[in-house]
Amino acid sequence: MAENIGESRKISLQKSAERLTEEIQSMANYKNLYTEIQKLVASTAVKREDFKNTLLEVLKNNGLETEIRNTVFHWVRSQGSLSAVSEASTEEVDLTYLKKAQIQWERRIQKSLNSTCNELNVPLARIRPNADREEVAEKWNELSTYDIDLSQYRPLYAPKDFLDVLFSIRNPSFKKQPNELNWEFGHIQIRVKTLTQLVLHRHLYVDLTKGMSLLGVNPDMPSSENFTNLEEERIYISEKVLKSNHAPIAQEFLKRGAPRALRGRLWSLVLGSTVKQNDLEYYEELKNMVLQYDIVIDKLIIKDVQLTARNDDQYFVFEDVLYKTMLCFSRDSEVLAPVTTDRSAGGQVIHAVLQGKPATLENTLVFPPSGVIPFHGFTMYATPFCYLYDDPCAMYYTFRAFYLRYWFRLHTVSSHEQGIVALCLLFERLLQCHEPLLWIHCRNIHIQPVKIVFKWIMRGFSGHLPPEQLLYLWDLILGYDSLEIIPLLAVTILSFRKENLMQVNNQQSVEAVLADLSSLKVVPLLQLALLRE
């Protein structure tokens, strides 16, 4: 029996290895790696008589071994959907109605996009006219001065609209009164964890629960070793981590918070988004694509930056870099595949024919090339990275990697454990379990609890927490490689403001109690909540 298991493990390992060797060839830095290894093989350090050992030795000394290990790490991460070594369960339940809802939702967005074009009499896509191209090229670094009339453009949808879509989802196997409004997501059968599970069974958030000293509580906290304070200690260790260049070590390190000065590099290492030569070239290509084509999404992007970052006292100084970032993102076809093949996607892609061209294959493009249609607040997924990187290119790749790992499931009707539906469900369960009085209070005053926190969850708190606190939160997302911390924080905040919430009885006052999060300290709050368990 045991032998059998051993045997089957061996087979599956072999299969993985085969897949890895095949798929690694299509990864972005494969070419670089391959050239580097070829160079090494040709060098005198590698001996013909002892090829394997000498090669391995050289790879190690050269740092290439670490590179390869990191590449495998990123490959594994891209395979195993986020911590979704799921405890079966989901397969037993038929969730096709969620898929259907997503398909409908995608159609609705597309329809709305088309009607925008019709109303304003603009094409979905066209070749950018010369004069316009020159202007965009010239103003590339200060697109805030690119003066076009956007008064007629409206965001296609806002988080509120999306929440309405989620509320209207019906589980066909769940019987209830025909006109009863969906009060919560309890009828959707996605398994989410309990707080105890979050802490114990999955060994999640262990550092938070054990009362380990974390950055983000008090930087002057005494250190266990010979450092003046905790911050000094963390800086010392993170320099060592960065030197080792091992992505998994960096990920582990982030669980206890990154020092400001090294956070950008740590994040890039964990996400494999460190900029290399070919990335610079690709970024330049994206820019050229923006210059070459004029798509209606551009207007929506510019409008969104104007509506969000431009008016935000934390981010307005970064307005110009955000235009570039978001425009390039829309042209990035490397985003398309992971976004559309995920099981949370409906797989509906628009194809646009360039205006005034015959509808041939070469005049048709996936619209937008990234496959992502922005909504009101989409820019907020990128804004926090402005604090980490001065270089727009470095900022772009880390933002993109973060989006592809986490954010894209927050604006689709997804059955994924890390999708918005599961996170809302987790929020409800946690609230119901740990703050039953608050839950009942919400019920009594007819406010769906999710409604209060949905905008936080959908944006990963971006724009709601001050940048520094937000970065500590995102450290934890990366460190534990999970978005579950977001609903957990949402519950914690409600719990923290419980007294005031219990005293009010309408949506407006509830929002007033929760409007200003500027005084919150994320890490101590989470610690408080988890230590109680």
Binding site: L156, A158, K160, P259, L307, D313, Q314, F316, F318
Partner: protein, 445 residues
Amino acid sequence: MASSTVAENKRVTNLNVSSHINHSRKVLNIYRVSASGTDKTKVTFCTDVDKSVIVHNFEKRGWVQVGPEDDWNFYWAVTQSCRNIFSVETGYRMDDKQLINHFPNHYELTRKDLLVKNIKRYRKELEREGNPLAERGDGPGKYLYLDFIPVTFVLPADYNMFVEEYRKSPQSTWIMKPCGKSQGAGIFLINKLSKLKKWSREAKNPFNPNLTKESYVISRYIDNPLLIGGKKFDLRLYVLITSFRPLKAYLFKLGFCRFCTVKYDTSIQELDNMYVHLTNVSVQKHGEEYNSKHGGKLSVHNLRLYLESTRGKAVTEKLFANITWCIIHSLKAVAPVMANDRHCFECYGYDIIIDNDLKPWLIEVNASPSLTSTTVNDRILKYKLIDNIISIVVPPDGVPDVKWNKCPPPEALGNFELLLDEELAAQEEKEYSSGKYRSSSSKWK
């Protein structure tokens, strides 16, 4: 499916609601205290600045508003009324229970020409004493540690000295500011001596005799400012002084950066475009690009986060230490000439520009920093500022008293941090060198 942008505004209105709730609750508390306690110590205040951030803060403490002719304990005055009170002709005598928010000759610090004069004198004095702080740097007129204001001359008095300096680097740009004006009024840039000559000819025009009376300062223009998002900014920091001799100074931690609305551009065509060069909100708010939601203001806290993340911890810490340094030495420079009246305290608005090498430059000091709120956050900030100032200058029992030792307990500081208290520092030094230190060290033997 069209969404509204109203959502973005909601935060604004909500904040109003919550701060009002807060406010009324605190008022209630105060009344409760005064009702049960001594009624005769009712504190009175007087102000000729009709700003809600000021009046609310006093009323919150249960203080009663009276006119300037009445018996007031606390006067939040404009500089002119303050000058009247201290003038010999008025003959007003303040008693021990009265405080006022300006020093009689604050202009030693806040007039552009006098500040420069005082700093130059301070450096010379230190040099004469052989103080290592006054060590000379490369080139004439340079100091290694005390070079925190741009090279500046007073015009017309120092015209010849200016020309001499100008000739050393004729390519440089200079900035002209009228000494007695504020908020960016009357400021212009010059890059040619001929332009200055032309200006001076016009100024001496007999038909416009007012202009000749006015003196100007001309300073080397910081033409390599640190830019964020391509835009120039300066820092507005609030510094509270409760005494000049001994010096007691506090820095408000919630300072902010004020950004220009237009990209920085040193080209000659833009030399006259003040939206590029001047960060004053009073200037910028007339610009087309001015945004009334954030008013071009970024918190110093966020600036620090950005700098530490993108430039590193050591250089950022050095920058902020240098900022503190330049504040303290500007204060030490004026301390000997200040009339250190014990009824007075003052909150100064420091304007500092950081250059691209992360060196801070003191540009000027304002005696009456604007209490006008341009945004919601601004109002919250200024409300806290006034609140914290009052708790520092008023003794713990809540009644103004000049006999108090002006050592507020740590919890009274709020968002202020102590920059320097010469009295405390001297005490500590004494303790350090005398018995206490020795006895504590002997314990270890």
